[in-house]
């Protein structure tokens, strides 16, 4: 009798409670790790921000020379240099990301609509795995394709000698350009968008579409007005996900964007698309060799902090954009 009571007591928590506690602890660890990472990155980044203030985000001087000076000041017993004006890198990040996301959004939306509603079943069976495969191709493969095919193609066939001569020696139009970066980045992020959009469109209740069709509205209009509208939160979610990927893409972009801290100028006309630049994430990848130099390390962490902050803002914007839609009972 007494023994039974003891056994009950020894068991303590039920299986469900144990699972709950275990998973809760896991979530806690993940959140703690995330916070620790944020604290670490911002702590390492602080000297760079502290020395430059808001000028960090502004323009001024040649950013490549600044990086070189920062790197060289890491020598033993040298006063560290921190002067860094990242505008050309930030501008390049904005242009490449916005360009790629805009093109990919339009393309992905039409492809997803076609895939879900209009494609014959056999084509759909081929398209879906292909899109999923494309979404998981490592970025360095796209980078290699860019370096070996796209960049020489642009450099040798699209850019003319007179265009090259016009901008040298300020910059070199070699084919490694905004155009190459945007094109390849579009191909990289479009499959993610297609996959997310398609899932959202598929989840729209069939009855809603049939109701509209029964009223004599044609298939295209029905799908556009009912399905795509209903799926708006998913479109936002997919776009945010793709933007985050585009923003953080480093390897591929560093291989095809030209690697010069130059701010491409839209006033230059057509040449604008051929101008080289270097976004923030690619700057980190290119200069990892300089991590041994303390001021360089702080500067690279500052770039990382800006990227982290931007991604966090993106998630927040994605969340906020979905809020008004909840009122209509549309929950992704």
């Amino acid at each position: 009798m007494d023994e039974d009571v003891f056994l009950e007591r020894d068991r303590g928590l039920s299986q469900d409670q144990r699972a709950e506690l275990g998973l809760g602890a896991l979530v806690f660890v993940v959140v703690a790790l995330l916070l620790a990472m944020l604290a670490f990155v911002f702590h390492e980044a602080w000297p760079s921000f502290a020395h430059n203030g808001l000028g960090w985000f502004g323009g001024g001087g040649n950013v490549d020379r600044q990086i070189e000076a920062i790197f060289n000041s890491g020598e033993y017993k040298t006063a560290p240099v921190y002067t860094f004006h990242a505008w050309p890198l930030i501008w390049s990040t904005i242009v490449i990301t916005v360009g790629a996301v805009a093109i990919a959004f339009v393309a992905a939306l039409f492809i997803a609509v076609f895939m879900i509603e209009f494609a014959p079943a056999w084509l759909r069976r081929i398209l879906e795995p292909v899109v999923r495969l494309l979404a998981s191709v490592p970025s360095v493969i796209y980078g290699l394709a860019g370096v070996l095919v796209i960049v020489p193609l642009i450099g040798n066939h699209l850019i003319t000698q007179s265009e090259k001569a016009a901008v040298t020696p300020t910059i070199q139009l070699s084919g490694a350009s905004l155009l190459a970066a945007v094109l390849i980045l579009t191909v990289m992020i479009a499959p993610i968008m297609i996959a997310v959009f398609a899932d959202g469109l598929r989840a729209v209740p069939r009855g809603w579409l049939e109701g509209s069709l029964a009223l004599g509205i044609n298939e295209w209009r029905t799908f556009w007005k009912v399905a795509v509208r209903t799926a708006r939160p998913v479109l936002v979610a997919g776009t945010v996900l793709a933007t985050a990927r585009a923003l953080g893409e480093a390897i591929m972009v560093s291989m095809v964007s030209g690697g010069v801290g130059f701010a491409p100028n839209p006033v230059d006309g057509l040449i604008f698309f051929f101008e080289p630049s270097q976004p923030l994430a690619a700057t980190i990848i290119r200069n990892t060799e300089g991590l041994g130099s303390p001021p360089m390390k702080h500067t690279l962490y500052a770039i990382a902090a800006v990227l982290l902050f931007s991604s966090a803002m993106l998630s927040a914007i994605g969340w906020a954009a979905k809020q008004p839609m909840r009122r209509y009972g549309v929950v992704p």
Binding site: Y76, T168, S174, G259
Partner: protein
């Protein structure tokens, strides 16, 4: 480097290496601070390296590479400097080339060791011009040069062999090859240095450096790896 460690480890199984490739300058600082027994550096000793002793281990050459479609065969250091500082921008400006197009110089980013060497040996301390396309490895320099008829780049000698798709030009009239680098006739050579603390260097590491410098096997490994054995037995 790791191939050398493995080979030496096979000869002396009791010795294990724990090598952290984090840049030559960082390595010297670690030796100065006593955190490491030795380091490898590819630049000559500087005044800031006080408290360390440098040993020459082997040689490396920096070749100037152009596309095979370009007939230029010789460049002086001064001409190369003009190209990479943006002074000369057209192949028609007296380089003896068949091309009359804009020069596409391709280089390494400013934190690369090869860039530091190029800056000292060719640019005389000046910074490469903003029209130099910067890429992250020697292999990417060679690839870019092989794809663009107007390109010129600087790479380690390992990246100019058969199948690389690039042509190395003579510098000051001397071809960039192992023989000329070994005799130091080719102007753009550098030693890879082993760095030890001046006081109480590890005897084990000294023996390893001797083996790298003199043994036939180490010489073969160095040559195969794309560098040039300087003192090893044939």
């Amino acid at each position: 480097m790791n191939v050398l460690f493995r080979a030496y480890n096979r000869l002396h199984p009791s010795i294990r290496f724990n090598y952290l490739p984090d840049g030559g300058n960082a390595g010297v600082q670690d030796v100065q601070a006593g955190r490491r027994l030795f380091s490898i550096n590819t630049r000559p000793p500087l005044p800031s390296d006080a408290g360390t002793t440098y040993f020459k281990l082997w040689l490396d050459g920096l070749c100037i590479a152009v596309n095979p479609a370009n007939t230029v065969s010789n460049l002086t250091i001064a001409q190369t400097k003009n190209i990479f500082t943006g002074v000369a921008t057209n192949w028609g400006q007296g380089f003896g080339s068949n091309l009359t197009s804009t020069i596409d110089p391709i280089g390494r980013n400013s934190t690369a060791g090869l860039y530091t060497f190029f800056q000292q040996a060719v640019l005389g301390g000046a910074t490469q011009s903003s029209n130099v396309q910067q890429v992250t490895s020697d292999g990417l320099v060679a690839t870019a040069v092989s794809k663009d008829p107007n390109a010129i780049g600087y790479v380690g000698i390992a990246h100019t062999g058969k199948g690389s798709g690039v042509k190395s030009v003579d510098v000051n009239g001397v071809p960039c090859n192992q023989a000329n680098i070994k005799t130091e006739h080719y102007p753009l050579f550098r030693y890879a240095w082993g760095v030890l603390p001046t006081s109480n260097p590890s005897k084990t590491v000294e023996r390893f450096f001797d083996w790298v410098r003199t043994s036939k096997l180490a010489g073969q490994i160095i040559n195969r790896g794309g560098a040039v054995a300087a003192f090893n037995k044939k």
